[in-house]
């Protein structure tokens, strides 16, 4: 219990503020988590050029080797996330992209013509265009 100027703050005020804040944090964690917004990622779709895409489940860790136009691309699936760990291209954009962990995330090695994309139960968007 203390005062600022002639405004009185009581312990109960802080208890109220604390409980309301924790309620808000709980609400954020329910309605704003990536799972509720985008659904759970379930499979990794790997595609080379115009060939049929292959789906890999995300629940088993594995290393996937894909032969592309220039050489091999190596993709890693670990703990529900996926990334390029090696690519036979010059710029290595796909490797620098890092982990994909949200449904709809995708990355591609254009020179090597290999692209990967996370799929889930609900797919919030088809594609996102942007620049780095």
């Amino acid at each position: 219990m203390f005062t600022i100027g002639n405004i009185l703050f009581k312990t109960t005020d802080f208890l109220i503020l604390l409980s309301v804040s924790s309620l808000i944090i709980w609400l954020y964690s329910i309605f704003w988590s990536t799972d509720t917004l985008y659904g759970q990622a379930e499979t990794l779709q790997v595609q080379y050029y115009n060939q049929v895409a292959i789906d890999y489940p995300l629940d088993t860790d594995r290393i996937i080797k894909v032969e592309g136009s220039l050489g091999s691309s190596i993709i890693e699936i670990k703990q529900g996330k996926a990334r390029f760990i090696h690519s036979s291209c010059r710029n290595q954009f796909c490797v620098f992209h890092g982990w994909l962990n949200i449904v709809g995330d995708s990355t591609a090695c254009l020179p090597n013509r290999v692209s990967i994309r996370l799929k889930g139960t609900l797919n919030p968007y088809d594609a996102i265009a942007g620049s780095q």
């Binding site: 002639n6 405004i7 009185l8 703050f9 009581k10 312990t11 109960t12 005020d13 208890l15 109220i16 503020l17 309301v20 804040s21 309620l23 808000i24 609400l27 954020y28 309605f31 704003w32 917004l37």
Partner: protein, 179 residues
Amino acid sequence: MKLHFSTTHEDHRIALLAALAISIYIIESAFPSPLPGIKPGLANVITLFTFLCYGWKIALQVSLLRVIISSLLLGTFLSPTFLLSLSGSLLSLGILMLVHSLFYPHYLRQYQPSAIGYAILASVSHISGQFIVAWYFFIPHPELFKLLPILMTFAVILGIVSGIITQHLINKLCSTHNK
């Protein structure tokens, strides 16, 4: 025919407070809001002040008068806006009464929250009441719940601000308030 009304001192007080709340509400509604659904809610300062200073009966009358008359003046009477306003006011006043009666026993009276605690409760319950009505009657869509945390965050911040204003009002104007 001539009608005679006898008015008491209490009636005058209710009229004065309601007029103040209505003016604040109407001035406030003229300002554009940066985010839809978020406004300072300064009219509730009057309701809270009335509640803490003069008790729940007067606060209920002031609050109902404020909701009905300002909606008549703004042309939103019986529209969704009016229902949202009404539900918010009633729930926030209900929560204030609940908490006040919770701390009513003499051995708990010293733990009674100050105006700031009451203001946070009032604004959070105000937005919850509006949200429940909006979701149940007007937009029953699950995506609406994504707005709830944002609305709640602003409710707490603006509640603290209106609590500080209310405390100033009580310090200046209220001689009989129960500490």
